[in-house]
């Protein structure tokens, strides 16, 4: 499958590059939410956030943060957004992980907002219990969860989590 960003990294597609090193590349995307938007991508092809090693993520965040400051200092804007569209459902259009830095001005009417929902207390509680119980097993290191999370049904948590990722990948590959 052709990847737009990989072609850009290889140089076969031209781009306005602001920064690059061995691992990351920052450039001005051809199509953007608003002019001045900068996109940071890893040079290695990773589809979604969950696949990015922590060290690489830290580097991307550092570059994104400094880009945010540079945008603020040079573009005459009043704010910045950092946006990750992770997965097809989240608006990701290229199957290569990216982080966008978006310059913002008062009343620019960008759709980077949402209508807050009024949830029933029971709904909130239900989601809370579900998320909290899963978050208990949360590991922030890159290593796969250890064997101790084996589940009695014979299926392990590791397998379950892998399914989650694969599902996301599949949904991205379904794109025309």
């Amino acid at each position: 499958m052709k990847c737009e960003y990989c072609e850009l990294i290889s140089g076969s597609e031209k781009a306005e590059i602001i920064y690059q090193d061995d691992e990351v590349l920052a450039f001005v995307k051809e199509d953007a939410i608003t002019p001045g938007q900068i996109t940071v991508i890893p040079k290695e092809h990773f589809t979604i956030l969950e696949m990015i090693p922590n060290k690489l993520l830290s580097k991307m965040v550092n570059v994104a943060n400094k880009l945010g400051m540079a945008i603020f200092d040079t573009m005459g804007v009043q704010g910045t957004n950092i946006l990750v569209e992770n997965g097809l459902g989240a608006g990701q259009t290229v199957p290569h992980f990216s982080m966008h830095i978006v310059p913002r001005k008062e009343n620019d009417n960008l759709a980077l907002h949402w209508d807050p929902q009024q949830l029933m207390e029971e709904e909130l509680e239900e989601d809370f219990i579900q998320i909290k119980s899963n978050a208990k097993e949360m590991s922030i290191s890159d290593q796969e969860p250890k064997k101790e999370v084996t589940v009695s049904s014979g299926k392990t948590e590791v397998v379950l989590e892998d399914e989650g990722e694969n599902y996301l990948l599949k949904s991205l590959k379904k794109r025309p």
Binding site: I18, Q78, N81, E85, N86, Q130
Partner: protein, 257 residues
């Protein structure tokens, strides 16, 4: 969350007060005034799903979608540039792990990681936070439209931001001046007429004559070229070498041999 508007008199009074305060006192005042600091200290109850040394993750009570979580650094920072690098790294690593938890817990097709720096960017409270929002296609959250940006504008943006970014990253400014054909031709003429400025290429034959030091010199030349590519070029000789990739400049450089 709703923000309280202050009258001009109150603003002035506050400003006067702030002027007399030490940085520690100001930090303490911010903490007292900040709803999210009170959530972190437990004064305001919340649905906390994660807690560690540097941050907590709580459920947003007015979520964009069900499962919307907020990651808050424990220390009070207003915006991202204020956060020390090691803490910021940690916050995003936790966001990554939280995203994975939400994909599983809410059975969604994606997540948005979203940060707003400044009120114009949609920031509603003066405490930095990372939104982690479960997403499904057609949920109408951040219904973003992309627009094509003209090449000229893109180039201008890249140029503007690049210099400041390099300063912030501590990268030495890269000045790679592309010479026009006319400039190069003029130089060639100058070189032909005067023997004073011998181009480096002419050192090669000399080096080859010297059998003993032949290998060493070649190595030196090689490393010189390498460093020239990375550093701003001051002298004309090395600039010609640097432009190896450009076919037309290559041809002109070959005239010397």
């Amino acid at each position: 969350m709703a923000e309280q508007q202050m009258t001009p008199e109150q603003c002035k009074e506050l400003e006067e007060k702030l002027k007399k305060m030490s940085p520690d006192e100001i930090a303490e005042l911010q903490k007292q005034q900040c709803i999210f600091c009170q959530i972190i200290s437990g004064k305001i109850p919340s649905k906390k799903v994660y807690d560690d040394e540097h941050c907590i993750v709580v459920m947003d009570i007015n979520p964009a979608t069900r499962g919307h979580c907020l990651l808050l650094p424990k220390k009070h920072f207003a915006i991202m540039p204020q956060i020390p690098e090691n803490i910021l790294d940690h916050l995003f690593i936790v966001s990554k792990a939280m995203s994975k938890i939400l994909l599983k817990s809410m059975r969604v097709d994606g997540t948005n990681i979203f940060v707003a720096n400044g009120a114009a960017a949609g920031q509603r409270a003066p405490h930095f936070m990372i939104h982690i929002i479960p997403r499904k296609e057609g949920d109408k959250v951040m219904d973003i439209e992309n627009h094509l940006v003209d090449l000229g504008i893109r180039q201008e943006i890249a140029e503007k931001i690049e210099n400041r970014f390099n300063e912030l990253m501590g990268i030495k400014k890269k000045v790679i001046k592309q010479k026009t054909l006319k400039e190069v031709e003029k130089e060639v003429e100058e070189l032909d007429s005067g023997d004073k400025d011998e181009p480096e290429e002419e050192d090669f034959p000399e080096a080859e004559e010297d059998d003993d030091k032949d290998d060493n010199k070649k190595v030196e030349q090689g490393s010189d070229e390498d460093s020239d590519e990375e550093e701003p070029d001051e002298d004309d000789d090395s600039e010609d070498e640097k432009d190896d990739g450009d076919a037309s400049l290559d041809d002109i450089a070959n005239l010397f041999k």
